[in-house]
């Protein structure tokens, strides 16, 4: 999309009925490094790619525990993501304190979406520049939601956001029908394989990804590097030939430390605050 005279203000409609500022905020999500979520009936796995600004720095935290039964993975402006995670933790703990019962994740995402919507209808605010994959439990089992800057939320069996997420989505689209009954281990394997898709040729190492799991009877926790590496080892030995990536076929691993990932073609500068 290109600059036009209706895109300065979030409270200005375009003649075609669009709010450009909101759409630009959704672009920010696409610039961040990938985050992936998938769920079975009883478990949710959230995984993300760890990208550091430089070799000298550590990578940014993109997966947050909200409560024992809810976790969130973010892509986009991580500062906005951190603030929203704090809000979610606050909601969850207040509910827990008042009712001694875990906040159903479906209700949390509605609160979150309503909060995001406010920012699309105030002239002195801007939309949050972060997409959130919220995984959690409620009375009917495990759920995965995607909250976007527009204030919309959707429920998914599996989803990926951030740069090169299309590759992961293609992989997930092929496999998602079996996720409902998957075991936890299979779900983790699929998550890591989906992460691998977004790396597009780069060798998959456990240091490059963060994986978290939560489920019925299993509180939210991160998998340690060893466990992730073990899963990687089960399939890295057999190089899969036709995980067909659309478009660019980079022969060698693109230097990942080159400040920020551009997602796809036609990309402008990447602002330093984005990951």
């Amino acid at each position: 999309m290109f600059r036009n005279q209706y895109d300065t203000d979030v409270t200005t409609w375009s003649p075609t009925g669009r709010l450009f500022q909101v759409e630009y905020a959704m672009e920010a999500v696409k610039q961040g490094s990938a985050a992936i979520g998938l769920r079975s009936r009883s478990h949710v796995v959230l995984a993300c790619v760890n990208k550091a600004q430089s070799e000298l720095s550590s990578h940014q935290k993109k997966i947050f525990k909200v409560d024992d039964h809810i976790g969130v993975a973010i892509a986009g402006l991580t500062a906005d993501g951190r603030v929203l995670s704090r809000y979610m933790r606050s909601e969850a703990i207040n509910h827990s304190f008042t009712y001694e019962s875990p906040l159903p994740v479906g209700r949390l995402v509605v609160h979150l979406a309503d909060k995001a919507q406010v920012c699309t209808q105030r002239s002195w605010k801007r939309p949050y520049g972060v997409g959130l994959l919220v995984g959690g439990l409620d009375e009917s089992g495990a759920h995965l939601y995607y909250n976007c800057p527009s204030g919309n939320y959707f429920e998914y069996q599996a989803f990926a956001i951030g740069s090169r997420s299309q590759a992961a989505k293609t992989y997930l689209e092929r496999r998602f029908e079996s996720f409902g009954d998957s075991s936890k281990e299979d779900l983790i394997k699929d998550a890591i394989l989906a992460v691998r898709e977004t790396l597009q040729g780069e060798t998959l190492k456990s240091s490059l990804c963060t994986v978290s799991v939560l489920g019925v009877g299993e509180p939210f926790h991160f998998l340690d590097q060893e466990t992730i590496q073990k899963v990687i080892d089960t399939f890295e030995k057999v190089p899969e030939e036709e995980e067909g990536e659309a478009g660019e076929g980079e022969a060698e691993a693109a230097p990942a430390e080159q400040g920020g990932d551009g997602g796809g073609a036609g990309d402008q500068d990447v602002a330093p605050m984005e990951m």
Partner: protein, 245 residues
């Protein structure tokens, strides 16, 4: 005509609470509630009396009410505060239902909500003058708990309020079992209520027993207990007390 107790808390400039009042005493009160867990859920018994001090003024007060799909609330103490609590819970249940998302508040959530409300009021020195009994069944699990006007809250297999604590609980401690059938449970509660009827002066002989199971709530029609007054000792009560005292 409204009657307010005149209070002088000084001038409104220096005292922020100059014209506000706090709960000092209860006026229309209900007496004990007795409740037990049994095989299929929870049974709760109460009489239908509302006393105005020592006068048995109201004889048709329902002190046990269904809350949502899964809970039963019984209250002793100030009846108007009980009605206020019912309004709070009405709002709670309404908002819960409006989500329409398959999740619903069970007895544990309602109990904890009430605990928060009661404790917060106590901290402001403006309590809701009740002792509440919350029972329910959700997902096959029975729940029975109590909250007092000062926010003391706990769960147990059998609970009672007021005089029930002194007269009914000992009976329940001896005779309660986890696998009581409905008939046995009712009989046990009636035994407790009969003792309360004999010995609690605020009790009246018109009671209701409410049952909650996975299927839902049923509150019985009011009925009365058979009493026996032909004990020898009552025939000539002053026989052993001749003389001036």
């Amino acid at each position: 005509m409204t009657f307010t107790i005149p209070i002088d808390n000084g001038d409104a400039v220096k005292n922020a609470e100059a014209d506000s009042q706090r709960t000092l005493y209860p006026y229309v009160t209900g007496t004990s509630i007795v409740a037990i867990k049994y095989k299929d859920g929870v049974l709760m018994a109460s009489d239908m009396g509302g006393s105005y001090g020592s006068t048995l003024r109201y004889k048709n007060i329902e002190r046990v009410k269904a809350i949502g799909k899964h809970s039963l609330l019984g209250a002793s103490g100030e009846i108007s505060d009980f009605q206020e609590i019912l309004r709070y819970l009405d709002e709670l249940v309404l908002n819960d239902n409006m989500w329409d998302d398959g999740n619903s508040f069970g007895p544990k959530e309602v109990h904890n909500y009430l605990t928060r409300v009661m404790y917060n009021r106590r901290n402001k020195f403006n309590p809701l003058w009740n002792t509440l009994v919350l029972g329910g069944v959700k997902n096959g699990e029975s729940y029975l708990g109590m909250v007092s006007m000062i926010g003391v809250s706990f769960e147990d297999n059998h609970v009672a309020t007021g005089f029930g604590n002194h007269l009914a609980r000992p009976i329940l401690r001896d005779e309660w079992r986890a696998d009581l059938s409905f008939e046995e449970g009712v009989k046990l509660l009636e035994k407790c209520m009969r003792v309360l009827l004999y010995r609690d002066r605020s009790a009246i002989n018109k009671l209701q027993i409410a049952k909650i199971t996975e299927e839902g709530v049923t509150v019985s029609q009011p009925y009365s207990l058979k009493t026996f007054w032909e004990f020898q000792a009552f025939h000539n009560p002053t026989a052993g007390a001749q003389g001036s005292w």
